[in-house]
Symmetry: C2
Subunit: 271 residues, 2 copies
């Protein structure tokens, strides 16, 4: 995963990093993190540290790579444009994300950035664009999705971050579901589902042991699923058609709302 030159679409007014209360500079890196590790910062990070934040040699930052937890590192200046990290000690261990994927019909750019950021905060372990019959957007910039994931993870103090999956047609994905995602159940958000039954349906699943199985939350396009898609999803074993209440939600809102409901009842908002 590269956090380099791809812009994440962060609002230009919002350039100063938001740290969600952590108050420290946190950066995603690709290198392995362990005590004594030394490696060079990539060009953009060096620019950010030396020329935007104007940190001096010896300044401490926090690093994570999605595998090794979070580590404190000291900055060493190599030149006017380059710096290195010297990893001094672990500040937090790695944490596993709940085993829930977010599959979503892509929307226009700003809202797509938003879905990637929010799904990261909400703890999805995979996020993947899915092209349904009524999906209007057909091209998705994976690197931009990844940059948004990294930004959200950096700013919100996460040590684990979701994997960004390649865009795929829903029909193709379902054709090979049993090989690609054996045993993974699908919770699909369906404007046609019985309204009012979401909590009871999720609670019944939790009571039947569904917190132990892997899940995928699937959000359709703004025009909804096609009837054939809905029928196919309903016919698959273990799927749940979930109503997100009486108001029609935009796709990006639906993604957060569905992940909230999932984490609250089936995911890691519970002990």
């Amino acid at each position: 995963m590269k956090s380099g030159p791809i812009k994440s679409g962060k609002d230009q007014q919002d350039e100063s990093p938001v740290h969600c209360g952590t108050g420290k500079t946190r950066l995603y890196v690709e290198a392995s993190l362990h005590e004594g590790a030394r490696f060079e910062a990539d060009k953009d990070q060096a620019h950010y540290l030396l020329h935007v934040l104007r940190l001096k040699p010896g300044a401490r930052v926090l690093l994570f790579n999605g595998r090794d937890g979070e580590w404190a590192a000291e900055l060493a200046e190599l030149s006017k444009r380059a710096c290195a990290f010297h990893v001094v000690g672990q500040t937090r261990p790695h944490q596993l994300l709940p085993d829930v994927w977010l599959l979503f019909a892509p929307v226009k750019r700003a809202r797509l950035d938003f879905i990637a950021q929010k799904a990261t905060e909400m703890g999805a372990c995979v996020i993947r664009p899915v092209l349904t019959r009524r999906t209007i957007v057909s091209r998705v910039n994976d690197e931009r999705l990844e940059a948004n994931v990294v930004e959200a993870a950096e700013q919100c103090g996460l040590v684990a971050l979701p994997q960004v999956g390649e865009a795929v047609a829903l029909d193709k994905l379902l054709d090979r579901w049993s090989e690609e995602a054996p045993g993974r159940r699908i919770l699909f958000c369906d404007e046609g589902a019985e309204p009012g039954g979401a909590l009871d349906a999720l609670t019944a699943l939790a009571q039947a042991g569904a917190r132990e199985t892997p899940w995928a939350v699937l959000i359709g396009p703004e025009g909804g699923f096609a009837p054939e898609e809905r029928a196919r999803l309903k016919a698959m074993p273990g799927t749940l058609a979930l109503s997100l209440g009486p108001r029609i939600l935009r796709a990006d809102t639906a993604a957060i709302a569905a992940l909230s409901a999932f984490q609250l009842v089936l995911g890691d908002w519970r002990r």
Copy 2:
């Protein structure tokens, strides 16, 4: 509420209206809506209808005012720059929103736009900025909040829309809570609350009849509530400190996540 010249901060790439599946042009108006009503469109709406959508006289649009439900109206051209609506019949009755307020510490502009839009979609009946001790943003543009509310309501097919309350200091608001909001309970999102207990706490409230009482969901600033604020909130009768899971959420994400949890268990996602 005015939907006129204030820009809502909608992404410039996203100019074409998103209709969340309704597929029809919907506009918020201030006039009373009843069969046979005729009134002139405001200048911006006339421009949008005549020059952006290029609608012709006789074209049908949907109108709502937050009080009278949704009505079909025919367009009548008055001049090159002005048009009128002729209301022909009701398409949907008015619907009450659940009695839940969203009180939130304001954040920077793009995220503030976002909170107003998303709180509207999530069915809050009042949205109001609350300045806490650690809130950095101190000026809030009420008209911009309202424009975002109107935009979300227009695009997502809502007939009711939240009232935007004036920004207020949290301490002042709590001083006069019993007069301003008699009997209204506060659900405040608290990073310090016991993690893992959200569903049990909400379910216990629902079982104890709390679905019948008015609520306010309160989201703190990115630095969290000050200890005195947290202590004061906890000491108020009927408040609940809610944990939104093990990951720190940005304020805008927290607003949607909290409203989702509320609507799922205590609000109108249930029968």
